[in-house]
């Protein structure tokens, strides 16, 4: 800086600024392992969200129980299982994602049930009445869907006429994550909860039913914007797609429980 300029107000400020920046500057970089890990987490989340959005056109329903079959509204529940070869994959579906769960199916000892075992880590995507969901699974995760069911080998879907899902994260397992009706639910170890659809009074505006989630044990958490909502054991909540929070219902847990289902379980094992 020339002598004349340094005498001007702007010149004096510039001199100070140079001193200030020189003396105080130190480069800041994030740890490479953090940067890489965050990108990986973002990619995984991106896949779950993108597939869930694409599945909204699938209309499926889920029955609420076995007891009053005549009075209950029968709904079919479809699981979209990915991991097929590209040739077997239906058109207009995303490319097979190796991170999505591969499953095998076997007869279950529970009457009228089919047992499905995940053989790879990933997600099982679900849709019901136009609402999308996803359940994260690990190798060894298995679920039993009770009721009449059939597997379509053509597009690798499992259709069930009656049934519910119980999610059981054992105390030594990794936390699970579920995307249901547009809500992200974190399920810590030691938590059991059920998900079912119930007709009539719990229909959201527009006639779309809201899944009912009952916490049998433990606690789950949903995060909306900056707020975390803790869902407590013994309570039943409706997850309306158009409402940010889970709405607690005054339904006794026993009524919402799987009392008429011998065993329906999603058991998380492994790390």
């Amino acid at each position: 800086m020339n002598t004349e300029r340094s005498k001007t107000p702007s010149g004096r400020f510039e001199k100070s600024l140079r001193t200030l920046l020189k003396q105080t500057h130190s480069p800041v970089e994030a740890k490479p392992e953090f940067k890489d890990a965050l990108l990986q987490r973002l990619k995984e989340k991106q896949q779950v969200l993108a597939v869930a959005r694409k599945r909204r056109h699938r209309i499926i329903t889920l029955t609420s129980g076995m007891v009053a079959a005549a009075a209950a509204v029968v709904m079919a529940f479809t699981l979209q299982l990915s991991g097929t070869t590209p040739a077997a994959h239906p058109a207009n579906t995303p490319e097979p994602d190796t991170r999505v769960a591969l499953v095998t199916e076997r007869p279950s000892e529970v009457r009228g049930a089919v047992m499905i075992e995940a053989t790879a880590a990933g997600h099982i995507f679900t849709t019901a009445q136009g609402q999308s969901g996803a359940v994260e699974v690990q190798p060894g995760t298995w679920l039993v869907m009770q009721g009449s069911s059939r597997v379509s080998s053509k597009d690798n879907t499992l259709e069930i006429d009656h049934g519910q899902i119980l999610v059981d994260v054992s105390s030594d397992a990794a936390p699970a994550h579920m995307l249901l009706a547009g809500h992200a639910v974190d399920i810590p170890a030691g938590t059991r909860l059920t998900v079912q659809y119930k007709p009539s009074e719990l229909y959201a505006p527009g006639g779309r039913p809201a899944p009912l989630m009952t916490l049998m044990a433990g606690a789950a958490q949903m995060v909306h914007a900056d707020e975390a909502q803790v869902l407590s054991a013994g309570e039943t909540y409706s997850l309306y797609p158009t409402v940010a929070r889970a709405i607690r219902q005054d339904i006794p847990a026993e009524e919402a429980a799987l009392r008429n289902v011998d065993r329906v379980l999603v058991h998380y094992t492994g790390h």
């Binding site: 001193t19 800041v28 990108l39 973002l42």
Partner: protein, 202 residues
């Protein structure tokens, strides 16, 4: 100041549309383009703490992914949008943890007499020894990262790396006159940001 035109924003917004549709390559591009900027911005505002910065940056990008389909280019650049998301995260984290605003603490450590500090700044009287101060370094870092990126970059090139204007012009493919003008604006912007941080505290 380099204006990010609405057209530029709309083109950038297409990146978010692709991300919302599941385009992994678009996500990688977005991440590479904005990660460092957001990280540095957050770092200086959470007490120069990497662990805290990582939490906020993680939450910011997760939230950005959730809201990728809702970004509106009419309301501002993606950079501004991300900065706003991170600022809200910092604020809510501070509130929930009972943390004091980092500026308040740092200013109280630097100098109780803010007017005197600015007088020294304006008069070119900053004693070098007084500048070896972590809190001041954080405030300067926070001010720099609070500037539009092109301003922070040009100040760094000129005053930290001591590059002549000609070299800066060559590197940025602009004329020397344009660089001189931008330096003037960048210096003024720095002063304004620095002062506004002080007035947030006062």
């Amino acid at each position: 100041m380099q204006v990010i035109s609405l057209q530029d924003r709309k083109e950038s917004a297409q990146l978010l549309v692709k991300i919302a549709a599941g385009d992994e390559h678009a996500l990688e591009q977005f991440y590479e383009r904005y990660f460092s900027r957001v990280y540095r911005y957050v770092y200086y505002r959470v007490g120069a703490d990497h662990q805290h910065a990582e939490e906020v940056v993680n939450d910011t990008f997760m939230e950005a992914l959730d809201k990728a389909g809702h970004y509106d280019p009419e309301r501002g650049s993606i950079e501004a949008w991300l900065i706003t998301l991170s600022r809200n995260r910092i604020r809510s984290n501070n509130a929930s943890m009972g943390r004091q605003n980092d500026y308040e603490r740092s200013w109280s450590m630097v100098d109780g007499e803010l007017d005197a500090f600015f007088a020294d700044l304006d008069e070119g009287n900053l004693p070098e020894a007084a500048l070896i101060n972590e809190d001041l370094a954080r405030l300067v870092g926070a001010a720099l990262t609070g500037l539009p990126e092109e301003y922070a970059k040009i100040l760094e090139m000129k005053y930290i790396r001591d590059l002549p204007v000609k070299d800066i012009a060559d590197a940025l493919k602009r004329t020397e006159k344009a660089i001189e003008s931008q330096l003037t604006r960048a210096r003024a912007a720095f002063r304004d940001v620095f002062r506004s941080m002080a007035s947030d505290v006062a």
